[in-house]
């Protein structure tokens, strides 16, 4: 995002809307103007969509590779459409129709930079390579896989490593017998990154109502400290629906 200093009147109205605090006041031709720190900006577009600028000074320039990955992983209106047309998997949503996540496996979504801190892609690579070393590969076909140099090593494309994004979702899956070592990798790698990640576990509900992976995760020190999401089981393939 950028602010046209010729139009900006330095009113500061846009400053608080920046999701990563990248807008500040600077001196420009002896006047106070708002400016976007291009290194910190994640191209989420919140400042522009706030429509708070009285002079229409905020604009999004044409984004090219590699900077476009910032918008692809943080601007809801970009989605992941530029990453080879790949959208993130729907996780729990639709699972009663697709059965993408079957009993006996624990599906994980690791959201780098969430909530609202942002992440460098170098940190994303740190997590992906740590997982790969433990034999855990990122789910093929997703947006992160699309920006990888090598799925087996977890290495990302070199030219995006210094880019930043608001939320990079890393999807991977662990069989129950690999659950504890996999979770230990996450504990260890959390200490190596300069950001945060929000972690979630998707698990099928067994006939007795249990979700077997959850108590294992709790035993490994992962507390479930927020509201869960429940797929209530109403979905069916279209032919079967009335």
């Amino acid at each position: 995002m950028q602010i046209d200093k010729k139009k900006c009147v330095g009113c500061k109205k846009c400053n608080p809307y920046c999701t990563v605090g990248a807008i500040s006041i600077v001196e420009w031709e002896a006047k106070k103007k708002s400016e976007v720190d291009q290194k910190a900006c994640v191209e989420c577009g919140a400042c522009l969509r706030s429509e708070v600028c009285p002079k229409d000074a905020i604009f999004m320039p044409e984004l090219k590779w590699p900077r476009i990955v910032r918008a692809q992983f943080g601007n809801p209106y970009y989605g992941h459409s530029g990453v080879k047309g790949v959208a993130p998997p729907p996780e729990i949503k639709l699972n009663d129709i697709t059965n993408r996540i079957l009993p006996g496996v624990a599906d994980f979504v690791l959201e780098m930079g969430r909530p609202g801190i942002s992440t460098s892609f170098r940190d994303v690579q740190t997590v992906c390579t740590a997982l790969a070393k433990a034999g855990v590969t990122v789910e093929p076909g997703g947006p992160v896989a699309a920006i990888m140099e090598d799925l087996d090593t977890g290495k990302l494309k070199d030219d995006i490593l210094e880019e930043r994004a608001l939320n990079v979702m890393v999807h991977f899956r662990l069989d129950y017998d690999r659950l504890r070592p996999g979770l230990k990798v996450l504990k260890d790698v959390a200490a190596e990154i300069d950001t945060v990640f929000s972690l979630s576990l998707v698990n099928r509900v067994e006939k007795d109502g249990s979700t077997p992976a959850l108590p294992i995760a709790v035993e490994e020190g992962f507390q479930t400290d927020a509201y869960p999401k429940t797929n209530v089981g109403l979905g069916r393939l279209q032919e079967a629906a009335k």
Binding site: P90, L166, L199, K229, V232, R236
Partner: protein, 206 residues
């Protein structure tokens, strides 16, 4: 996207925040059937409009952008509806079950409330998604109360600076709690931010 997940539990244990997501599988078999079933789903949701604190769809804007009728005609594949009480959530789930549209329905909210509701409606949860915490450099995170508000927009469009900004305005009596909650809600373009809960949290803070 897990954008309705990671909403923080309330220290007071209040359950006034249930996000329902209705989704039909797009691009397969019969597009017209999907559109009809989503339109019927919006019909059901509209019966609870007065009880909903927000509604909308991804990139379609929320309650602040357009009325339910406009969403019905949009032909989207995803519906968000935010309930502030369990009774209306239960009634809506009952209707969805009776209509048997075959659309996939997920609910984010306090576990006890959702479990009890499912049991009362006669639904057997199919899959669960649990938030397993925030890890890494957690010293970068804002105050817990600010985080409780900010995490209601899963795309993180409600910045912590904006929350601080409206708190300052409330303190200076330039904005009411309700106006501040609406201001924050306006940044969420998916209709999942809960302004009712935000107002309650803001009242606790100022």
């Amino acid at each position: 996207m897990t954008h309705s997940l990671h909403r923080k539990k309330d220290a007071e244990g209040l359950c006034d925040d249930y996000v329902m997501l209705i989704m039909a599988e797009p691009g397969k078999i019969n597009q017209e059937s999907v559109k009809n079933r989503m339109r019927e789903s919006w019909d059901i949701i509209s019966h609870y409009e007065a009880e909903l604190t927000n509604f909308g769809t991804v990139r379609g804007g929320g309650r602040h952008k357009k009325p339910i009728e406009a969403f019905k005609e949009k032909n989207g594949f995803l519906i968000h509806a935010v309930f502030k009480d369990r009774d209306s959530l239960k009634a809506c789930l009952n209707e969805l079950k009776d209509r048997d549209l075959g659309v996939s329905v997920s609910v984010s909210g306090c576990l006890e409330g959702v479990n009890e509701t499912c049991a009362e409606v006669g639904l057997n949860p199919h899959t669960m998604q649990y938030a397993l915490g925030i890890h890494g450099k957690t010293d970068k995170l804002p105050d817990e109360k600010v985080l409780n508000i900010a995490t209601m927009c899963g795309h993180a469009m409600v910045s912590t600076n904006l929350i601080a900004h409206v708190i300052e305005k409330i303190s200076k009596k330039r904005m009411t709690h309700a106006e501040a909650a609406e201001k924050l809600c306006g940044m969420c373009d998916c209709g999942i931010f809960n302004p009712h809960k935000a107002e309650r949290l803001l009242r606790q803070m100022v």
